[in-house]
């Protein structure tokens, strides 16, 4: 049902790794490590800077893929992964975009389940990848029926 958008990507969006946002995020996940937001601690670390928690890229804007329609309710987050070349530093610029990677349907007890995989990429100002993530979103039969009716 997503055939038309498989392989499509969004335009790159500029994000800045904001110090306040990193602190708020670290506190919200219960991991207020000084490496994330204490300036002195960061300077003395091997990074000579503060870095972000590993799941922080969730807050970035990765743009919207033209033609990708998802229901507002009923989506299940099945899997999530992050792959890093290096940690992200507070203050740096990240250019984010989304790629619709795949969609498969598999039989389950409650009818067929749909698995949509979105890849998100974060690049530096030179266009080098710093990280990418993959989200697997599960769509139940009821949710897909709702989409077909819409």
């Amino acid at each position: 049902m997503f055939e038309a958008v498989i392989g499509k990507r969004s335009k790159k969006i500029l994000n800045i790794v904001e110090r306040g946002a990193v602190k708020k995020f670290a506190e919200a996940v219960g991991d207020p490590h000084p490496l994330y937001f204490n300036i002195e601690f960061g300077k003395k670390s091997r990074y000579a800077a503060n870095i972000t928690p590993p799941t922080f890229p969730q807050v970035f804007d990765y743009g919207t893929v033209e033609g990708l329609r998802l229901p507002e309710a009923g989506l299940i987050h099945g899997e999530q992964s992050f792959v890093y070349r290096r940690p992200l530093r507070v203050g740096e610029a990240v250019y984010g975009y989304t790629v619709v990677e795949s969609y498969v349907e598999k039989p389950a007890r409650s009818g067929k389940l749909g698995f949509l995989t979105l890849k998100r990429v974060g690049e530096d100002a030179q266009g080098e990848e710093v990280f990418h993530s993959r989200s697997v979103i599960i769509l139940t039969e009821a949710v897909r029926r709702g989409m077909a009716d819409a």
Binding site: A21, K24, F25, E27, A28, V29, G30, D31, H33, L35, Y36, S45, R46, I51, P53, P54, T55, Q58, V59, A73, G74, H77, G78, E79, Q80, S81, F82, V83, Y84, R85, R86, P87, R134
Partner: protein
């Protein structure tokens, strides 16, 4: 303790979280920008057929990061992949464990689990931790 000194089969100090509160979920919604109301508003959760609000899977994954943040002077997480295997409700008590399952000169692979007080698993993750010294 240094991660590089661990042997396959060793575990990190486990994390025991206080019972999940609504405020935990509101704070994570605000910090992450994920305002899906099934995580914060009872009526929305009930409309979705849930017995009550459920925690963001990404809150559980985010909390898993705390197992490793004490060691970022030694290396970094190069890969972190999680499967969300069970829903987390208000007042659930989550314990997180990490076990070293594979080791090369510069790469440590951990199996991470978030288990509820019921014994059910909420999430399972694989964390690949790259050591700097071996890379230099």
């Amino acid at each position: 303790m240094k991660l590089g000194d661990l042997k396959v089969g060793d575990v990190l100090p486990p994390l025991r979280w206080p019972p999940v509160s609504r405020l935990d979920l509101i704070k994570y919604a605000g910090a992450s920008g994920d305002y899906n109301p099934i995580h914060t508003i009872d009526e929305a959760a009930e409309q979705a057929g849930l017995p009550g609000v459920i925690a963001h899977g990404m809150l559980t994954m985010g909390r898993m990061g705390k197992l490793f943040s004490p060691y970022f002077e030694e290396g970094f997480i190069s890969s972190f992949s999680t499967r969300f295997t069970g829903m987390v409700f208000l007042n659930d008590e989550i314990t997180m464990t990490a076990k070293l399952v594979a080791k090369t000169d510069d790469v440590l692979t951990f199996q991470v689990e978030a288990v509820k007080q019921t014994g059910d698993t909420a999430a399972r993750a694989t964390v690949v931790f790259k050591l700097y010294d071996a890379m230099d």
